[in-house]
Each structure stands twice: as structure tokens, then as C-alpha cells.
């Protein structure tokens, strides 16, 4: 997995390439914890995301909870495979997916 990160002022965007699973989710979580402070618009670009496991979902949930307090969080370019996971787990109800 590769994480590309782009910060513009208080906007932070992550583009995730590859699999977000038990092995790789901790990397994203660690980086998020480091960078999320002071961010008001957090977005994830999932155009190149191939797979998300429950560990990945957990990171999204944590991020969503943080952003509920300090701004907004958006997920973009979700493909069908990932969308199905979001639907099955009910995450599509709590995430803002564009």
C-alpha cells in the first residue's frame, strides 16, 4: 500500500493505493494521528483502493469520529468492491461518500 498525502492549509487529502488491511491500516492510523490536528476538511481518495478490511474500516471510523468534532470528512471515488463493503457493514450510512 502507498499513502499519498496532500495538505493545503487546514485541508488534508489522503490517496490510498492498494490494500487497506490488518497489515497496512496501522500505517494510515499512525499518520492520521500525527496530521489530523487542526484539520477541518479531511478527505480520502479511494480511486486506487483495492480492498478494505475491518482494520481499515476501524481507521475510517476513528477518523470520522474525530472529524465529527472538528470539521468534516469526505470519501471520494469509491469503487464497487469497496462500496459493497461499506453497504454490508452499514458504513455507508455514517460516512459521507461522494
Amino acid at each position: 500500500m502507498t499513502i499519498n498525502k496532500n495538505t493545503e492549509g487546514t485541508k488534508l487529502t489522503y490517496s490510498i493505493d492498494g490494500r487497506l488491511d490488518t497489515e497496512t491500516a496501522p500505517q494510515l492510523e499512525a499518520d492520521l494521528n500525527k496530521s489530523v490536528n487542526g484539520i477541518t476538511e479531511l478527505s480520502f481518495d479511494f480511486a486506487k483502493l483495492e480492498y478494505i478490511s475491518s482494520a481499515g474500516l476501524r481507521v475510517l471510523l476513528t477518523a470520522q469520529k474525530i472529524m465529527n468534532k472538528q470539521g468534516s470528512m469526505v470519501i471520494r471515488n469509491v469503487n464497487d468492491v469497496i462500496m459493497e463493503v461499506f453497504d454490508v457493514t452499514g458504513f455507508s450510512n455514517i460516512l459521507t461518500i461522494e
Partner: protein, 815 residues
Amino acid sequence: METILKLSVSAMLPVLMSGLLYLAEKKTKFGTLSYRTRQIITGILFGAIAVFGTEFGINAGGAILNARNAAPLSAGLIFGGPAGIIAGVIGGVERWFATFWGAGEYTRFSCSVTTVIAGLIGATIRKFMFDNKKPSWIFGLITGMVVEVLDMLMIFLMNMSDIHYAFTFVQRCSIPMIPINGISVMLSLLIVSLIGKERINIHKEHKKIIQTFQKWLLLRIVSAFGITCVFTFVLQTRVSNNDTNDLLTLNINDVCADISDASDANLLSLTYNVASEISAAEDVDDDLLLGLSDKYDVAEISVIDKKGIVTKTTHEPSHNYDMADGEQSAEFLVLLKGEKEYVQSYQPTSDDPGISRKYAGVALPDGGFVQVGYDARRFQKDIDEQVVGITKNRHIGENGSIIICDENGVIVSDRNNYQGKMLEDTGLSPDKLSAPENQRFTAEVYGETSYCMYTVSEGYSIIAVTPVSEARFSRNISVYVTVFMEVLIFTSLFILIYILIKYLIVDNIRKINKSLSKITDGDLDVTVDVRTNEEFSSLSDDINSTVATLKHYIAEAAARIDKELEFARAIQLSALPSVFPPYPNHSEFEIWAGMSTAKEVGGDFYDFYLIGDNRLAFIIADVSGKGIPAAMFMMTAKTLIKSLAETGIEVDQIFITANEKLCENNDAGMFVTAWMGILDLATGMVTFANAGHNPPLVRHRDGSVEYFKSPSGFVLAGMEGIQYSKNELQLYPGSMIYLYTDGVTEATDANEQMYGDERLKSILISLSGADTEAVCKAVKSDVDTFVGDAPQFDDMTMLCLEYKGTSGFTEKKEG
């Protein structure tokens, strides 16, 4: 002044070029060219500046002043070795041929060679001392000056045939050229630093060893150099002073001796004449003596008897004077002891120190002696002929001379035809002659600052003069050459020590640090292997053995953790119902469940229990994450849900309450996906709720299999205040429901292909008629076949329930 200004302008060229090229490298396409191309271009440009320096050097009294060497040095230090060498070769070769169109032949060799060397030095220093980085300005200054010193020393050593000229040349060139070249290189480095926006004094909490070392070594070397220079200067000055004094004294003594020889002979011959007239006279009385003193124009004639008493004299007060009474007069008593003659030098008389006279005595045949004294005016008249011109051709050294003047300050003899003139005409004030005799003083003589020394002999003042420039010449050569040599020696010493320390210690420490940081990053298989000397060898060994010990402990700790995880796993598994069939008394259903665990303890679970006699609750769930936290969360969730279910509330209420409880104190942000159903044993009606879990598969009585999808609620423990809906699924006798976790559908093979929903559905279709245990085992074995040797990271959990119906089951409707 104008020379310095012009020279400064030419010295600014390398600075300007450095700034421009640096900017070009940073801001324009020049920076995108290959390293080699950039080096060549930079080398040529700086070479051109060196050529410019040669062609437009400033002529200062025959010596051409320029800042040629600054260009290759700047190129080498700032832009890289190859550029420096190219610039040096261009500048050096051009200088060699420049003699054909006007450049000085005199410094041809040394200047060409030094320019090439300047490029080499810039390149070498950058590469070996500064790790191919730009050094700080202070090293630029020093290097620039040292290279120029080398140039000067070479000019001097290559032209030893005329040391005088060579030295004058070097002396004239070195003062402007050495600092100007140094400053030029220094400014080049500074301007590049400024453009690069580096702070010039970077304050860091921890300095690198090599920087601290650099600073101290430089400080020590410079002070050692300073002390040696001062010592050399003082010593050489002393030696030169002594030599000058000796030279002056010796010359004065020679002249004194010549003069006193002349005056001694003169007075003696007079005295012999007087003595012979006295001997021939019948009656010797004062009148005779007065007559003789007039005749010979002497100041005083006395006759002394055998006892040393003055019997007759022209000098009335001396009558009956005992010669033994005065120190000066007593000397003549040797004439009573057999000496024939005695001459004294011009000096104050014993009975009146206010009067200076020269005396001579000659023994009389009848005993006693005659003493004749005359004053300076008288004997100078006689010996002037001998004294005049005595020093006309006398040199002290090359340009020094001796001036003789009489008591009135009229010059009697000198080298520059000042005879007859007054002493002050030479520039030397007669006041100076009130200083003690035979002591060196400095005065302006013949328009030149000179060291002088004088002595008074026979009434003449004899002044030895030597120009300071000449007296100091050998000292200056010694000091210059020694200082220049010392500059080179101390610089080489500095570089040598620096490079030694760098290679022996600093580089090794760097290597060790590199290995250590790999080790700290977690690679415990890295070994440190620095074996250049015993100390580092033993340090390497120590680090390696420490890491080995650490590795051992970590392995032990890991083993202990593995064991603890195994226990956790065992406890987790023992919490799941594992006896099948669990309810032998109930024929209405058949249930089988199993969990095959991945290596790491996970958070899957299944559960089933009867609620009252009529209802069977069954659940499959998956806690996010892995390890002990997931396992503990799973235990909490499982227990909580079971205790809620046993109160008899509806399945949606179970989830709503469980969610609220699990959200409390869930700092770790864990969540559970779960699918829970409650089967009414009498009717086959399953009421269920789904908290974000995969949809179950249902196998109908006719063998058709489908995913039973329903609106999914959010995962448990994810967020407070989530509502779950209650759904229904009617089972008929022979219908089967198959629940699983994503460990099944997301099992991956070696090509990272997932097992997937379709394969799962197909295998279920193919298992038509099989009972719950067979279904679970067959799916498990199919998944195992699919993944092969690929490692699995997730638990694989499944639960299969077949509704058999009751004897009194009545079909309401089907289809």
C-alpha cells in the same frame, strides 16, 4: 592605492562568477544539465577569469599583481573538483604561453605551476576534507592565502641567483596578493552561502565532532604558527642587531686605530725632536721650554726628573707636580723603568679634567724624561692630511659608510664627497652625538634611515652608518622565507591531522552510527564491522555482542508472548459451544459451528443458546482488529449479548442495548459486525438483526441457494444511538441457513485472489443434501484447497443451522 583598487576589482570577478553560476544552477536550466557538463562549463568560465587575471594584471613597479589563483580555487571549492582542475589547467597553461605576448618571464614557471596547483588544491580539499561539500568561508580565506604564499615562495626559490631582486619582488607582491586572493575566495564562498540563504553562523545544539575538531585544530595550528612567527621574528631581529653592532664597531675600531696610529707617530716624532734639543742644551730652564713649545707649536712641555717630579714646565701650575699623583700622568712613569717612549691617546689631563690633551713622553739619556702635550687643534692640523679621505673608499656592507668629523662638526672624511661640509648636511644632527659612544642609534643619513654608531677618537668623531634596509635585509629574508615555509608546513600539518582523524575516527564513527541506526530501526541482523584499528574493532565486537544478547532476549520474550497468546486462544475457544449435537432432546433443528483460527488470536465468535424451550438464539460476529484486545472485546460482546438475549427481549432491542453498552469506554475504537437470529422452533420463523455483517446464505428445501440480503445496520460499538431493525426469515423444514465471517470469503490464495462470494455459493449448491456438519467441513476443506500454502491472517468461522420442523409443523405457505 589605485593599484589596490584595481586589484580588488579583478579579485571580485571570481566572486561575481560564483554568485551567477550558483544562481544559474538553482534557478535556470543550467541546473538540469548533467554533472559532467556543468563541471566542464564551470571550469572553462573560471579558467577564463584566471586568464583575465593574467592579461589584465596590474603593473606595480615591474611586478604584475593579479588575483589569478582565486578563480580555480573558488571553482574547485564551490563547484567541484573537476571544475577547479579544468580552471587551474586553463589558467596555468595560458600563463605559460602569455610570456610570448608580454607577461613576465621572471615568474613564468612559478605562476603557471601554482595556478594549476590552485585548482588541484581546491579539488582535493573539497573532496578529502569536506566530503565533496562546500567549505565555510574561513577555509576559503585560508586556502586562498596559502596558495598565494606557495606562489611567492616558488617565485623566490626559482630565482635564487639574484636573491636581492627576487626578495624585493616577493616583498612587493606578497602584501597585496596574498590577502586579496584569500579575500576573493572567501567572498566567493560567502556570496554563495548568502544566495543559498544559509545562515552563516548555524547554531546547532550538537556540533559534529569533525567541526569541533576542525575549530580546535585550526585554533591551535594558527596559534602555534603565530608563536613561531613571533619567535622567528624576535630571534632574527636579535641576530641582525648583533651583526649590525659588530659590523659598525669593527669598522669604527679600524678607523680609530688608523687615526690614533697617525697621531701617535706625529706626536712621538715631535717629542723626539724636543728631547734631542733639551739634551743638547747646556742649561735647561723654563724659558728654553717656552721657546721650544712655540717652535713646535705644542701646548705643553715638561721635564720630569728621575723621581717622577716635574722640574721644569711651560705649564706653571705643574711645577713640582708628582707624576705618580694622577692616574693619567702616572702612566708615564714606565719611562723611568727603562721604556724609551710612551704615547697616550687624546684624553682629559690629570690636573685639569676640563682640558683634553694628547701626551707623549721620551726618556732622556741622563735619566728622567720629557713630556710633550698638544691639543686636538694642533695634532689635527698635522694628521688631517692622513685622516682626510681615510674613509672615502670604505664601505660598511654594500651601502654603509663611515663619516669622520672634527670637534666643530666639520666633515673630514666620508664616502659621498661631503668633505668640508657640516655634519648636519648629511641629515645627521650633531645632537645625536651626545648619545653614549659605541651605542647604536637610528637616524636619517644621506636621505636614508640608517643605523649609526659613533665613537670619539683623537678629537675626531667617527660615525659608522649603515642603511636600515640593508641591515635588515637578511633578517627580512629569513623571516619571510621562514614564515612562508611555516605557512605551508602548518597547513600540510593541519590537513594531514585532519584527514587522519577523519579517516581513522570520524568516518568509522559514522559507519558505526549507520549500522546502529539500522539496528535501532529494528534490523537486528545488522552487524557492525569496523576493523581499521584495535579500538574500533573492539567497539564493533561489543556492539555486536550487545545486539546478539538483545536478540536473544527478544526471542525469549516473543516466545513467552506466543505462549500467552496460545493460552488466550485456548480460553477464547473454550468459551464457544463445542459439543455437537448440543441439544440431543431437540429434533426441530440441527446446528453445527466451527472456528478455524489464524496464527494470531482474533475476534471472531459464534454462539447459540435456547431462550426458554421454544426459541433458539444464534449469532456469528467478527470483532475488528486482532490480538488480545480483539479477543477481550469479543468476550465482552459475547457475554453481553447472551445476557441480554436471555432476558427474552427482541433481537433488535438486544443489538440496540448491546451497542450502547459496548460504546461506553470503547477508547480503542473497536467494533463488532454481527448477525443474530432467533428461531422460533415451532414456526420456523427467524427474527434477526444485522449489525454490518456479511449476509448469510440460505439453502432452500429445493436445493436452491441464495444470499439472504437485508438492510444492514451499522456495526456494533461503532457509534452511539444506532437503531437496528428486526427482520424476518421464514425457514421450512429442510431449509438451512449458513453464517460465516469474512475469513471465509476473503481467504486469499498465493496470487492474492479472494475466495469470494460466488465460490462460497457454488460449493453450497454442490453440497445439496449434506447436513450441517458436512456443509461446514466441506466449505472449510474447499477454502483450504483454494488458499494452498498462502498464509491466512484471519479466523475462519462458520455456523450452519438446519430447520427440521416439528411433528406438528404446518406449512402456511411456501414459495
